[in-house]
């Protein structure tokens, strides 16, 4: 099957549709016109840049460049997690909890899959190592952000209950166990939903892309299954680590609830 290559004219036609929406929003006074246009321009610029970087990166054999790209992804993900929190931890923990949980889970699962499942030579072949790791980091980022948000917000709301439970002689673990479990569940919702609806409601983006790119559907499906499982495993580890680290840091060395370690609500 031949891939239909998209020309500048083809993309301009699609851009015209976006302009139409921008115009509509202007006349309907949605106050979205500028936002839509800026976002559209960002999409073009950012993706063109990434295209250039990937083109260059795919030509590299050196692990250092791939590792550097991963590091950038990780640091951005950590920042995004922090930015999503209504009540983030003060100090280095605000950045640290999310970043550490994404780092440990994504890299453990990613390297596992690249070395044992995909099994290229070398294992960090950029054509696989960059998009796979990108998808894992992106999804674990969401999972970690959701679970941390639930943990800190619910703990704040229920601080009196937690103290009442401590006062009755419960350990810090017992006193926050319900909130911790709920936070882990919330972090895993997106991926569990995606797995349950895969193929029935949506064709996952990566698979659609591969099919559009000319890969036989049966092959694309296998990669999608691999991705889903990877993301599930990584999200699971990430939420567990984030919630455990976060919950522990909500109590001081005498197991007193320390909500003063959280920033005020934004």
């Amino acid at each position: 099957m031949n891939v239909v290559s998209l020309s500048v004219v083809d993309l301009s036609l699609a851009a015209a549709l976006v302009l139409l929406i921008a115009l509509l929003s202007y006349f309907m006074q949605l106050k979205m016109t500028q936002t839509i246009l800026v976002a559209a321009i960002r999409t073009v610029v950012q993706l063109l840049l990434v295209g250039l970087i990937l083109k260059w990166l795919f030509a590299q054999e050196d692990f250092i460049w791939i590792g550097l790209m991963w590091l950038v992804m990780l640091l951005v993900a950590g920042r995004e997690i922090m930015a999503r929190q209504t009540r983030r931890f003060k100090g280095v923990w605000g950045y640290g909890v999310g970043t550490i949980s994404v780092f440990v889970s994504s890299f453990a699962v990613g390297v596992f899959v690249l070395t044992l499942v995909v099994d290229n030579t070398p294992w960090y072949t950029p054509q696989y190592a960059i998009p796979l790791m990108g998808m894992i980091i992106g999804n674990t980022m969401t999972a970690a952000a959701l679970s941390l948000e639930s943990l800190t917000k619910t703990t704040w709301q229920q601080r009196m209950v937690i103290e009442a439970r401590l006062a009755l002689g419960q350990t810090w673990r017992q006193s926050i166990s319900d909130i911790a479990r709920q936070s882990i569940r919330i972090g895993l919702f997106p991926i569990v939903n995606a797995m349950a609806a895969a193929g029935l409601v949506t064709l996952p983006g990566m698979m659609s892309g591969q099919i559009l790119g000319g890969t036989p559907p049966a092959e694309a499906v296998k990669y999608q299954i691999l991705i889903m499982f990877m993301i599930t495993a990584a999200s699971g580890f990430a939420t567990l680590i984030a919630v455990w680290l976060g919950a522990r840091h909500l109590f001081d060395e005498r197991q007193r609830l320390s909500t003063q370690r959280l920033h005020a609500e934004r």
């Binding site: 229920q158 009196m160 209950v161 103290e163 009442a164 439970r165 401590l166 006062a167 009755l168 002689g169 419960q170 350990t171 319900d178 001081d252 005498r254 197991q255 007193r256 609830l257």
Partner: protein
């Protein structure tokens, strides 16, 4: 027989309270009163190791830090003025089945074993408060830190709660620090009376 000191505070303070030196004997009740915001609740919570403090606090000669926090709190029990419940039913907040003693407490407060099946939402504030009083006795604490335990109760129920605590004290020789506003109640329960005035704990004459 020498009377053992149960609870001992040495230069103990939290937030802006001036350092406190206080000994409470077994079977003794001391009351603390003072304006709202004077720091009565903070002091009790600090003794229960729920918030940070300065100075030292001993229970039967053992310093707070020598015990695991949850063990300390089981023996030095804090009862908040607002009774909080986090599961659906009352019973889930207790170690079931209840022992004979706990069943007796329940009945003495006008409840029955069936109360354990009640949904928390259906209980009135007063009922929740009285059930909270029973719940705090489940760990058989040696020190009771009571933060206005009858704040939401009518006079009949208040007397019932007082009676239960005094009965428990008689059985166990526990020490009680009782935060209260009602002068008549203070007269009934406390052997020594204290007041927090300008961040200082002062003994007042009965």
């Amino acid at each position: 027989m020498t009377v053992q000191t149960q609870l001992k505070l040495v230069d103990f303070s939290c937030h802006n309270l001036k350092p406190i030196n206080l000994q409470v004997k077994p079977g003794e009740t001391v009351s603390i009163s003072g304006k709202s915001g004077a720091g009565k609740s903070l002091l009790l919570r600090a003794i229960a190791d729920l918030i940070p403090h300065q100075g030292q606090c001993f229970f039967n000669g053992q310093e707070m830090n020598m015990l695991e926090p949850h063990q300390w709190r089981r023996q030095v029990a804090y009862l908040a003025s607002e009774s909080l419940w986090w599961f659906d039913s009352i019973g889930e907040h207790f170690n079931l089945p209840l022992n004979k003693q706990m069943t007796a407490y329940l009945e003495s407060m006008g409840f029955s074993l069936d109360t354990l099946n009640w949904n928390v939402m259906r209980c009135s504030t007063g009922e929740r408060q009285r059930l909270g009083v029973i719940r705090v006795l489940a760990n058989e604490p040696h020190i009771l830190l009571l933060d206005e335990p009858t704040a939401n109760l009518d006079s009949g129920n208040s007397l019932q709660v007082e009676k239960l605590f005094l009965q428990y004290q008689k059985q166990t020789q526990c020490s009680i620090i009782w935060v209260a506003h009602n002068q008549q109640q203070i007269q009934r329960v406390a052997q020594r009376q204290f007041e927090i005035r300008q961040s200082e704990l002062i003994e007042v004459q009965a």
